[in-house]
Amino acid sequence: MTTVGSRTPRFVQVSAALGVVFLALPVVGLLRRVSWLTLWDQLTQSSSRDALRISLYASLSATLLALIIGLPLAWCLARMQFRLRRVVRALVLLPMVIPPVVGGVALLGVYGKTNGLLGGVLDSLFGIQLTYSIWGVIIAEAFVAMPFLVLALEGGLRSINTRYEEAAAVMGASDFARFRRVVLPMLRPSLVAGLMLAWARALGEFGATITFAGNIEGRTQTTPLAVYTMLESNHEGAYALSFLLVAVCVAVLIGLRDKWIGGISR
């Protein structure tokens, strides 16, 4: 006999089914429009290849950049008590909630060559121009992807009981040895999940990238930007690249099944 608490009303089940249809239909619509016979040709044409190459390079670099600056940040948020912690956490979440185009505008305000806070200095002193370059793509992607990594790492670090690090310290392990031998193995599931989510977010980034780095074919045009451009002239190519992006994201979700989908379905 089902108890009151475990019984799900029929109208909730119907609404849930509608939700599933709502989420699944766009994928079906996309798959329906993919021209399977010319898929390979579309994916291997030069503009697609360039976009894929730039996307792969920029998203991996952005994920690495997010890791380098995000891990210490997650550590401080998880382990330190400081007055501005709430402000810092809000700052970490900001790129997640603001429209990506606004993120791109904000980045222009900092790194823009003419009116940017630091852009002019970087250009005149070091000859570095971030806007409309691959570096701009990497910065824009890291900006929007970092919150996913920081949140995953912060959660992971919070869940590690510090008694293991205490035990390692008494054994003679230095700060670095404790991190390498104790924290890192225990953090691995959160680290992998955070890296995959951040990478998937960077790979699909559009708004901040087109605003900050532009849409220059062969230089800053990533796959989502190529899809946007191709929609005007080459629908088959746009659907082929879209399919590829969806396939990559599904692969990420499968990779994270124990961490996210498994946890939800239990």
Partner: protein
Amino acid sequence: MISLHGTVVAGEFSRSFDLEIGHEIVGVVGQNGTGKTSLLRTIAGLSALGSGLLSLNDVMTDCPAERFFVLPELRNIGMVFQDHALMPFLSAVDNAALPLVVRGMKRSEARKLALELLEQFGVADVAQQMAPTLSGGQSQRVAIARALIGNPSVVLLDEPLSAIDEGSRNDVRLCIREHLNRLGVSALVVSHDFADIDQICTRIENYTR
């Protein structure tokens, strides 16, 4: 050698201790809440002394008045924690070998020494098992082996036999005593079981409220 004259602090709790321990095995008895575990944590460097002076082997180790504190990793201490604190992502043998590995010994060499020690403590048969799959008694024996493997100059044992079954306690007690005598170290043993203290220790410190 351990010399502690000062106040041990843990949150709201504080208590003064006057302790001089040579190359001997001292049992610490007392009710719950008398600061026995806090005393061990302070000697290990996991908590700072509230006031006074702690010296290990005639070397000043913790002196709040002089803002002097030696980090736990530099104290050369072997410690068994009450909850064993075995690394859950490592096997029994890798746990026992960890003090040697973190100090730079090759993993294969460290594992060989760890396996020998696990054999002496009767848990060689579970050496390859992951820590979370060990029984309480097996886990505690691995924790004891881990505390002794790095040739520490001070050994701290917090309820080292609480999870070991009555039938094999005597063997483990003798094994601990043999190892502590061989190492010739200063050792502190906290236990609720008087038989543990009686068989392992050479002297007793009694702390009541």
